[in-house]
């Protein structure tokens, strides 16, 4: 097994799936010759040619709208928006059509497309390049929203997303792209969309995270174990919508306490929905109020202040201790 970072793992998924299915096409800005600004599509042009690896003009709505048309005709386009912050220029195509065509046509048509977007913060980028706005997509019926946390599952989930009969929004946390490597088997691997995973087992506290927040959350769990003797269970959501509330509720029924961690702004963020589901499904087992460690309800700050915005290990540990003290 090769040790790959997330960029390489996603690249492997695209290579293998394009080889396997000639209906899979890649399109977006700079995805061809340049291999994508983060190099996720590197080498695809040489292997599959410009008919299947399409460098498009700079127009987000057209990238998504064209991908919708391709998908309607039976292809499986994988469109890339260079940064998720530019996707609002295509949002009407996503919300208005990708998410609705199955319903609008009473099931006659469907849109098997994947929209890949580098997303979230931690890389000291300029404005519009660091936001976490997954709530917009998760709030939209008809879409599935996936956010992997590491290379191996990113590869498996991307393959599942390409094969999914419905549109999948695939957010790739930029700060994880090259942060660490994992063993990724050469043999094909898929992972079910809509299923969370227990990243660490424990019985005293449930911590729920996804994307780039998984690593600081796992680190916080380590600190709690070492310094407090607390065994925290960590859930890696992987899919934001549909949300695997059963895995979370089952954990909370055991631990009675929960901390939710995400980069997105707090108000109306994914954490709010998770709290509601936990209250609905595990209220009588809760022993303390659920805490949220999130981005603030502000525009994502730039440069040095970015790290003050992002949840970190110390902040997560503090929230966990408060929960445990109640």
């Amino acid at each position: 097994m090769a040790k790959l970072n997330m960029v390489q793992a996603l690249n492997l998924a695209l290579h293998q799936e394009m080889k396997k299915d000639d209906g899979v096409l890649v399109l977006g800005q700079d995805v061809g010759v340049d291999g994508g600004v983060f190099r996720v599509t590197e080498g695809l042009l040489d292997e599959f040619g410009e008919e299947r690896v399409i460098d498009t003009p700079l127009a987000e709505a057209a990238i998504v709208g064209t991908a919708i048309g391709m998908a309607l005709y039976g292809l499986r386009p994988v469109a890339e928006i260079q940064f998720s912050g530019f996707d609002y220029q295509a949002f009407h195509q996503i919300e208005g059509h990708a998410a609705r065509l199955r319903w609008r046509s009473q099931g006659s048509f469907h849109v098997p497309m994947v929209l890949r977007m580098p997303y979230a913060g931690g890389v000291r980028a300029v404005e519009h390049h660091s936001e976490s706005r997954e709530a917009y997509y998760a709030h939209t019926p008809g879409l599935k929203t996936v956010i992997p946390s590491g290379p191996r599952l990113a590869r498996a989930l991307l393959i599942s997303a390409i094969r999914d009969p419905d549109p999948v929004i695939f957010f790739e946390p930029k700060s994880v792209y090259r942060a660490f490597r994992e063993e990724v088997p050469e043999d094909e691997e898929t992972a079910p969309i809509g299923k969370a995973r227990i990243a660490r087992e424990g019985q005293d506290l449930t911590m729920i995270a996804y994307g780039a927040m998984l690593v600081p959350t796992l680190q916080a769990a380590e600190v709690l174990e070492k310094e407090d003797g607390v065994h925290a269970e960590v859930i890696d959501l992987l899919t934001i919508s549909p949300l695997d509330d059963e895995t979370m509720a089952e954990s909370v029924r055991k631990t009675g306490r929960a901390v939710i961690v995400h980069e997105a702004p707090r108000s109306f963020g994914p954490g709010a929905e998770i709290v509601s589901r936990l209250v609905e499904k595990s209220f009588w087992q809760l022993e303390a109020p659920i805490r949220r460690v999130t981005g603030f309800d502000i525009i994502m700050p730039l440069m040095a202040y970015e790290q003050l915005y992002l949840p970190n290990t110390a902040r997560i540990v503090r929230a966990a201790r408060e929960t445990l003290a109640e």
Binding site: L25, E51, R52, I54, T56, P57, A59, A61, A62, V64, G65, T66, A67, I68, G69, M70, A71, L72, Y73, G74, L75, P77, H92, Q93, G96, H97, L101, R102, W103, R104, S105, Q106, G107, S108, F109, H110, P141, G142, K144, D164, P165, D166, G194, P242, L243, D245, E246
Partner: protein, 246 residues
Amino acid sequence: MPEGLNNLPINIPVATQTLHAVGLGYAIKYRRKDDVALVFFGDGATSEGDFHEALNFAGVFQTPTIFVCQNNQWAISLPRSKQSRSETLAQKALAYGVPGIQVDGNDVLATYVAAKEAIARARSGGGPTMIENVTYRLEVHSTSDDPKRYRTDEEVQQWQKRDPLPRFQKYLMDKGLLTDAEIQALEEEIQNEIKAAVERTEEQMKELSSQPAIMFEQIYAELPPHLEAQKEELARELEQVEETHG
């Protein structure tokens, strides 16, 4: 595309469908099929960004896409003169390297020829075309629209004289291709066809309105657990209503 189905449902947000036709065209070309993608829109749509992005993409990728603009002079209350300083709408295509032609949209044969040429070009690898059919909206925009607020009766009367249906009928009769008896028979046939379609639709609507659960089932290929729960929630509510009133 599903077998036997090659028309997409009507797309409400103006001009957004133009991009789907580019994707369809790309897929047709990629699969080496003989199909072409035709997309219809009004004069109002040419002010939308998607229309311009679609023409640009279609031009760059030379997709077999035909952009059919029905220029009926009015975008609800906004006249053509206030929509664009361009002399024609067809010329917008030229900026994207796409052939753009303007035809008398009230001339059935001219419209047919323009479409035929565009389709032949698309099929032979010549890429997209935009056709501007110049016509007029004689009727109201919608049942809540009152055109008297923004246009004169004189204008409407002028255009009524150019109504394509009597015009083509007259042409065919002059050529001896159509008789009064045939017109009567055709009109009867058409009336029956419309009546049958209305009845069929009413039947379908009745059938659909007796299965509310269907609205949950066409969101995803497979019903996710949260929708399963919400579907049951509605079913319970309807059962209660049934018990109370039934």
